[in-house]
């Protein structure tokens, strides 16, 4: 047991911290705190330029192997990177779906040609990705996807609807689960396609959320062409690919998010000190409670990394989604209770304040990326070994 960071890790922390301090200036200073949960569709042009600044300095895809254009960082250093990125209040990453989900999926399931075609453009930020998995009738029950893929020579034509597709309106490519067979058992008839978002027959309709923002969209496919060479894995092997992607989604990419949460908690504490609720014993208990649990999330993230020095994503992540989702929901409620009656009133700008948006956004945490109920099913079956 040794909970100290090594000198090399501390030096790395200083390196990224110094770079962020030196670069989040001038036009980029205004991006601080923007583009995160609840604001993922905000300040897109500025964040595109920021991505390019990151690319120039080699700070994209830092956890990827060097062979694929990454920095080959250890998972621990990747967490340090994410922590410092959050501490600097740097803007939400536009390329995170390509970097965190599609890239690792391609490395695991893609052909060398597909990797050579797509990975460099994720590293250099020239192609942004969105994820076409969920459908109106395939949410928690993802295997129920109905979007059809009909053969057309060597290629396929996609027809159907995707929904809750984050950043679809700003993305260049989409990775899509579609049904290539209605004969096979439902898990076996699904295939994973890569399709350019400017293909004919794709229509993107943003969905307005309770925050007023439009972070995700409906995507309609009407005979849109997906090339056969852009199928990931086998025809009919899409379920395995999808499960791989979801493991990445619930894995390392969330391990550094505690410092984003810390920033939100700091703001609530400031508000509580400012309006005097910091002296209220009930509010003090709740502030201490969320603070304690946040510390534990970081401890658990660090603990999860031990034994995963080889870069495989930690599996304990399946239990953490339920924890942080519930925690973040509670944080949003604490924010409102600290504001008291003021939470009813919009600021003069007419836009939600940060804490109001936090509350509304956190209504979604226990739903997306697997609802709390689905997470409990998974824990019951896989972690406790309860019978089906």
């Amino acid at each position: 047991m040794d909970l100290h960071f090594t000198e090399a890790d501390e030096a790395f922390r200083i390196e990224i911290r110094t770079w962020l301090e030196g670069n989040l200036v001038d036009e980029f200073a205004a991006l601080k705190g923007r583009g995160h949960l609840g604001d993922m569709d905000g300040v897109i042009p500025g964040r595109r330029r920021w991505e390019q600044r990151m690319v120039e300095a080699g700070w994209t895809c830092v956890g990827w192997p060097r062979a694929h254009g990454g920095r080959g960082l250890s998972l621990l250093q990747e967490v340090i990177f994410n922590e410092e990125y959050a501490r600097a209040r740097a803007p939400g990453r536009l390329g995170h779906i390509g970097e965190g989900l599609l890239g690792p999926t391609l490395m695991a399931f893609g052909t060398p040609e597909q990797q050579a075609r797509f990975l460099p453009r994720i590293v250099d930020g020239t192609e942004l990705w969105c994820q076409g998995y969920s459908e109106p009738n395939a949410g928690s029950d993802l295997a129920n996807v109905k979007c059809r893929a009909e053969p057309d020579g060597d290629d396929y034509r996609l027809t159907g609807q995707k929904v809750w597709t984050s950043l679809a309106q700003d993305s260049d490519w989409c990775f899509v689960l579609a049904r290539t067979s209605t004969e096979a058992k439902r898990h076996h008839g699904i295939t994973c396609f890569l399709i350019p978002m400017d293909a004919d027959g794709i229509n993107v309709v943003p969905i307005k959320q309770i925050t007023g923002g439009t972070e995700f969209c409906e995507v309609f496919f009407d005979g849109a062409l997906a090339k056969g060479e852009h199928i990931i894995g086998e025809v009919g092997g899409g379920w395995r690919v999808a499960m791989g992607t979801l493991a990445f989604e619930r894995g390392a990419s969330t391990l550094g998010q505690q410092l984003n949460f810390q920033t939100e908690l700091d703001e609530i504490i400031q508000a509580a000190k400012h309006n005097g609720t910091a002296a209220d014993p009930v509010i003090r208990q709740r502030i201490a409670d969320v603070y304690i649990r946040l510390r534990i999330m970081r401890l658990n993230a660090l603990r999860t990394l031990t034994g995963h020095d080889d870069g495989t994503p930690p599996r304990a992540a399946m239990i953490t989604k339920l924890y942080w989702a519930s925690w973040h929901r509670d944080l949003g409620e604490l924010a409102m209770d600290v504001l008291g009656a003021d939470c009813m009133v919009l600021p003069e700008s007419g836009e939600l304040s940060e804490l109001q948006r936090l509350f509304l956004w956190t209504r979604s945490d226990t739903i997306y990326a697997g609802t709390n109920q689905i997470q409990r099913n998974i824990i019951g079956e896989r972690a406790l070994g309860l019978p089906r």
Binding site: M1, D2, L3, H4, F5, T6, D9, L76, I269, K273, A278, A279, P281, R284, Q285, I287, A288, D289, Y291, I292, R293, R295, I296, M297, L299, N300, L302, R303, L305, T306, G307, A316, I319, L322, Y323, Q373, Q375, R376, N377, I379, G380, E381, A383, L384, G385, L386, P387, R388
Partner: protein, 324 residues
């Protein structure tokens, strides 16, 4: 960064667990309700656990709270009777009295300690009775014990009165150690109760199926596992902080105890509910562990007390908890 027990630490923990599995069964616990059983303490003392954090030239093993808390989790798992956490916490504070130290290391007689003004567990049978007051430690020179009926009979409670004199050592550290080891025992107790509940859910059948197939039961147990899993890392963090005298030690100890107290409560409630009416009987073992939880949850500060302590640190004032 290595956030796990190393090989030697894990071997020590496993040796303790093996010894306890045979020595401290549920039947032994029931028998212990009529008094502490020294036959239970000596085999553990032979493994050296009361001297874990003493230097080798004092008869110890030169280790730290990291190993001690790992052992305490195992003690909790079997519901080990008597003032184990207190004795383990106090042994390093008696090194200047060699006869007392020898008896402590041999497991002959426990040590009793509590925060001033609180009931003291197992004071009657203890070799010495201490109390802490902030950074001070005092020992009762001629303690008078008034018995208080205890919900958990393996943890006999007394109000202790009589003259005290000052005792060398940092009372804050003694309190933090006892708090941490109590938290660790709660984590062990939670493991045991959850194991009992999961086994019962797989075995008990209603409507023609194991009740563990029902989502309402699964979700209850999933929440219990979640609470338990997130109470484990803080034990190790607090142990490491005490061992390395980190600035965050007091917050870390309070984090560990608050989370362990809450996790044990969550697990106990889920386990009782899953057991149905059987869990409410004297015959089933669950209550042996549940009653320890009721006591240890509140010993050395309940979750509310420790949250208040953290709030004091966090909000940079000290409104709360001036008495400790």
């Amino acid at each position: 960064m290595h956030f796990a027990l190393n090989e030697d630490q894990a071997m020590l923990r496993d040796a303790v667990a093996d010894t306890l599995q045979d020595a401290c069964t549920a039947d032994v616990l029931r028998a212990a309700w009529t008094g502490t059983n020294p036959a239970l303490w000596r085999p553990l003392a032979e493994l050296g656990i009361f001297g874990l954090s003493l230097s080798e030239n004092r008869g110890g093993m030169g280790l730290s709270e990291v190993e001690e808390s790992a052992v305490a989790v195992e003690m909790g798992r079997v519901g080990f009777p008597g003032p184990f956490a207190e004795t383990l916490a106090a042994v390093p504070f008696i090194t200047h009295q060699s006869a007392l130290l020898e008896s402590g290391l041999a497991g002959d007689q426990p040590l009793a300690v509590a925060v001033e003004g609180h009931p003291i567990a197992n004071a009657r049978e203890a070799a010495r009775v201490f109390q802490t007051h902030g950074s001070e430690i005092a020992v009762f020179t001629d303690p008078t014990c008034t018995d208080l009926p205890s919900v958990d009979p393996t943890r006999a409670l007394c109000l202790v009165t009589g003259d005290v004199r000052s005792w060398p050592g940092d009372g804050q550290r003694l309190r933090q150690r006892a708090t941490l080891f109590t938290a660790a025992m709660l984590v062990g107790l939670s493991h045991r109760m959850l194991d009992l509940a999961v086994a019962y859910a797989k075995e008990r059948r209603q409507f023609g199926k194991a009740i563990g197939t029902f989502q309402a039961v699964q979700h209850r147990l999933a929440d219990a596992l979640l609470a338990l899993r997130f109470a484990e890392a803080p034990i190790q963090r607090a142990a490491f902080s005490l061992a390395t005298q980190a600035d965050s030690a007091d917050i870390d100890v309070s984090t560990a105890k608050a989370m362990a107290s809450e996790a044990a409560d969550t697990v106990a409630r889920a386990a009782l509910q899953v057991h149905g009416a059987n869990g409410y009987t004297f015959e089933f073992d669950l209550h042996l562990f549940h009653k320890r939880v009721i006591a240890l949850q509140r010993a050395w500060g309940d979750a509310r007390w420790h949250r208040a302590n953290v709030a004091g640190h966090l909000l940079l004032d000290s409104k709360e908890n001036t008495h400790a």
